[in-house]
């Protein structure tokens, strides 16, 4: 595949690794924010191949994982309302909420359908005018503009039975929240590639300026990640943190301006509830009042009941970078991808699933 294959050249990768081994002197802890990067790093065994003084840590960039239990309970409660069709991205339906998952709600009679795109959810609304079709809107800045586009399309086509439960989250504020917690001492951050395709690289500037932490936006192929690591190491060795883009074919400093505009047309910044971190101000996206007829939070009355976290699951502290899956007593025994206890094992890009699939020797 063009723009993919070239960035997988193993010969080139080996030479880059040699160069990184030569250059890197200072001990440094690097966090890959994005779950997609976690998977790529594990899949290609990069943790093992990097020098010993470089420690890699996974961050909270897995939208399924960071969805709080009580938000999930709200989604499930919506599914139990009469004449409602829930539409959701795949992984989300398997995440255990306080009492059940969306998948279990389906076996109890709720109409829960997995979609690949918000367009599919809209098509279901078009085909089922007598039902209320609710899309469970999870995802970061990569996905939020697509959901915004679907709301605008519903408006254009006068589809009046389409709703979004917006659980969307934005990345820079949660990076700040994690740095302010002061639990992890980071030298550099591998910034998310496709979030940055939308927001650009400027929103990370405060991390370099105020926290003196190196930043590099990375693509998802092994050479992209090695290039990002190289950029971070150079910044760390020179003591001059800044924000670099190591994924220039996909990311411009200013991002995708039409997509940002579209997102800002439909959504406004509000608080969001993050698993393991809690409510963080200005870290979520809510449907603006002029589009509230599409806002599931405003149009349905539900009582999701009290929230319980899955017992024994330490997903929350894994998402903060404080623990690893190996610290969890349930990992690989009670909790497996077939029978997940927490979301970090459900999502294919959750840390627990990555450790499980690619072996803990990569940790």
């Amino acid at each position: 595949m063009k723009f993919v294959e070239e960035y997988r050249d193993p010969e080139l990768g080996k030479k880059l690794l040699d160069m990184i081994h030569e250059r890197s002197r200072k001990p440094a802890r690097l966090m890959e924010f994005c779950g997609g990067h976690t998977v790529a790093i594990f899949k290609h065994g990069l943790r093992q191949l990097l020098p010993d003084n470089i420690e890699m840590l996974s961050g909270p960039g897995c939208p399924v994982c960071v969805t709080a239990s009580d938000d999930l309970d709200r989604a499930i409660a919506l599914g139990h309302l009469p004449d409602v069709i829930i539409t959701s991205f795949g992984d989300m339906v398997r995440v255990p909420g306080s009492r059940s998952s969306l998948q279990e709600a389906r076996s109890e009679g709720a109409d829960v359908r997995i979609v690949y795109s918000a367009q599919d959810a809209l098509a279901i609304a078009r085909d089922n005018p007598e039902k209320s079709v609710i899309f469970i809107g999870i995802g970061f800045e990569t996905t939020a503009p697509t959901i915004a586009a679907s709301i605008l399309q519903a408006e254009q086509e006068k589809i009046s039975n389409y709703y979004v439960l917006s659980l969307h989250k934005v990345c820079p504020p949660i990076m700040k929240a994690i740095l302010d917690l002061g639990e992890v001492n980071l030298g550099g951050i591998i910034c998310p590639g496709h979030v940055s395709a939308i927001i650009g690289s400027h929103p990370y500037q405060f991390i370099a300026d105020d926290y003196k932490i190196a930043c590099a936006v990375s693509g998802f192929e092994p050479l992209d990640i090695l290039l990002a690591v190289d950029r971070l190491i150079r910044q760390i060795e020179s003591g001059q943190p800044t924000v670099e883009i190591a994924y220039r074919r996909g990311v411009k400093p200013e991002g995708n301006v039409p997509a940002i505009r579209l997102m800002e047309t439909v959504f406004e910044i509000g608080e969001a509830n993050w698993r393991g971190i809690g409510v963080v101000p200005s870290s979520g996206l809510q449907v603006k009042s002029q589009y509230e007829k599409y806002d599931a939070a405003k149009n349905f009355k539900i009582d999701p009941g009290p929230t319980h976290e899955p017992e024994g699951c330490i997903c929350g502290s894994i998402l903060r970078g404080v623990s690893t899956p190996k610290d969890c007593g349930l990992f690989g025994g009670t909790c497996t991808p077939e029978h997940p206890v927490g979301p970090c094992m459900v999502s294919s890009e959750g840390s627990c699933a990555a450790y499980y699939h690619y072996g803990d020797n990569h940790g």
Partner: protein, 72 residues
């Protein structure tokens, strides 16, 4: 979840495009990339093009990777 893959635009009809991913044809919305043209590669995420791939930058990055590896 933020997975996006390169897809080649084959034809455009309004805001919808037909794209090719390794020989497989799929629909893609161009609502987020209004400037995308036939022949462009876009990053396809959940049925939407979220950005146009810049081939000149791709070339530059490959050049940089080669330079770095030769310098070691």
């Amino acid at each position: 979840m933020c997975l996006a893959i390169p897809a080649l635009i084959k034809s455009i009809d309004g805001q919808q495009a037909e794209v090719d991913i390794e020989g497989i044809t799929r629909d893609a919305s161009l609502q987020l990339t209004p400037d995308a043209k036939v022949g462009d590669y876009v990053l396809l995420h959940t049925g939407y093009a979220i950005g146009v791939i810049d081939p000149a930058e791709a070339e530059e990055t490959l050049k940089l990777l080669k330079e770095l590896s030769e310098a070691s």
